[in-house]
Amino acid sequence: MPQTDVKTQVEELSVESFETFCEDIAGMFGIDMDCTAQGPVAETSKGLAKKYKKLAALFTVQSTGILDGDFHLVVDKEGLFTLSGTIVMLPEKRILDMRKKGTQQDAEELDDAVGETGNLLVGSWDRVFREGWSEHGHFLQTGTFIGVPWSDSQENIGIAEDEEFMYIPLEMTVGEFPAFQCGVIFPESLFTEKTASDVEDEATEAESVNENEEVSEEITETPAEAAAETEEVSEPESQPEETAELPQDDQQPEQAELEEVASETQSADVAEETQDSATVPVSLETEDTDPGREQANGVVSQSIENMVHSFPSLPGEEMKSFLTLQAQSVMQKKVVWISSGDSVQQAMTTMQENDAGYLMVGENGVLEGIISWVDLIGAISVYLKPVFAKWRRPADDATLQIRLKVIMTRPVRTARPETSLAVIMENMCQHGLRCLPILDDGGAVIGQVTAFDIFKAMLNTDSEFATVGQSPQGTLLQPQDSE
């Protein structure tokens, strides 16, 4: 294989490996992750010292097969704290603090999590290269360096300060955190021609490797999401403190609350809150429905959260079998589609005509985004409410014409028909979602699960509030002439 072809192949698989790592971590920890690669460049340690000024994590990978030798994966300081903090489930605020002010010591205290991040990263890389290149042998993570590797690069990465290597930079995002830098460093020695017999030996070895078992992801992102532009990431709000520790049996308050929900078929709290959001029409005629609705949703989410966080210590076979129920057994098969080019007003009408609380946004079954009634209410001017009619201006009416592509939620978190309610609920509360589209193996939307479907399944009843809950909106927004 000519050297240039090898490099092209390496470049393609490197980008795919980082993307696969994002999917792997996203599925495992229920977060959104994405990366954007820039093209490969010739770089030196001196050059990288300018790009990675602060501490970084550098994972050394021993490669066998057509690439024979060591290469390095590098993640900047922000990435180091974001990735390791995420896998040990540190509170968002703590991760944000460390991204800004974290020291070498802070990073070293997380060294086990940093190392395990590298392990997962190298695992994704090995899988992608094995599936994509028959001449690939094996990648093994042989070292994790936390610090500033460039000052003594010969010692730390086996490359002299001025020696050129191939560097592929990427920008990665995790959840709502701002993007960080990462990349891969391939020393030129890795691409030096090998003898024909060397390659042959390794190829034979590699041929015996069959397609490995694909690990299915619980929560995946839609294909369209890969094409989506990078969105501006806002600073996440601080979250209630969560410890990295596992749920313990001593979480009495949560447990008590959950038992209450589980044991009383119609727990007053749940019934009341659900009824609120179901029967109070959310319309522009009702001045104060918006806050009320948010509050109801907040309590719904809190109940789910309490339940999810305490279920490992839950007694009772019923709850256990409930949590292992699959999405397909509770999902609504009817989903309503709308185009991303349609307006807010069209979406409101479509929701009301179909009695739907959520719309799938896309064309020809390709999911680009999702829209909820709350998204629509949030997008239109408050002056459209009748009570403010006399201040209403054309600009307020214009908000009804906002295109859905501007306000839809994306990427869309989705689940598989066989995903358990436990996983769905955890994802819902972690990301503040109330509806997850269910995708089949081909990526087609075959249904949706809303928080109310889960309550319905939990109560195992067809009582009115449980079903009505699927459509949060009540009366139709009446388009009015502006004065």
Binding site: D126, S208, V209, N212, V215, P247, T419, S420, A422
Partner: protein, 124 residues
């Protein structure tokens, strides 16, 4: 009767992630032990065997596959099911360790369903 579990991984972080995922899978264990490498695991298994061992592959001191071989020579582990949990996904690695006596293989990244599916057959 509820089962006993041991998680063997050199990373404390990964042991926690595995424990959390096992709990999310809905499978119930009486006790969950931990060990940081094969040597420590074998010592603990010798003293008090468990029903199911979840075992990493790449570990210092003694790797997962080495541990599986040794455990299969111990009478205390006659009834112990050993399921490998690793980022290693090469078929030859999987086949090798299964031939040495492992009972299953879960690839990282994993999900609660993976544990449910692979461990459920050993829960009765």
């Amino acid at each position: 009767m509820a089962k006993t579990l041991m998680i063997v991984d050199d990373s404390a972080t990964m042991r926690k992630i595995i424990m959390r995922t096992v709990r999310m899978s809905g499978l119930e264990f009486d006790t969950i032990e931990e060990a940081g490498n094969g040597v420590e695991a074998l010592e603990k298994l010798n003293a008090s065997p468990v029903d199911i061992v979840l075992c990493d592959i790449n570990m210092p001191e003694m790797t997962g596959p080495e541990m599986v071989k040794k455990a299969r020579e111990m009478s205390s582990c006659d009834n112990t099911k050993i399921v490998m949990v690793s980022t290693e996904s090469a078929q030859e690695t999987i086949d090798g360790v299964m031939a040495d006596g492992a009972n299953g293989f879960i690839t990282k990244p994993f999900t609660p369903e993976n544990f449910q599916e692979k461990l459920m057959p050993f829960m009765n």
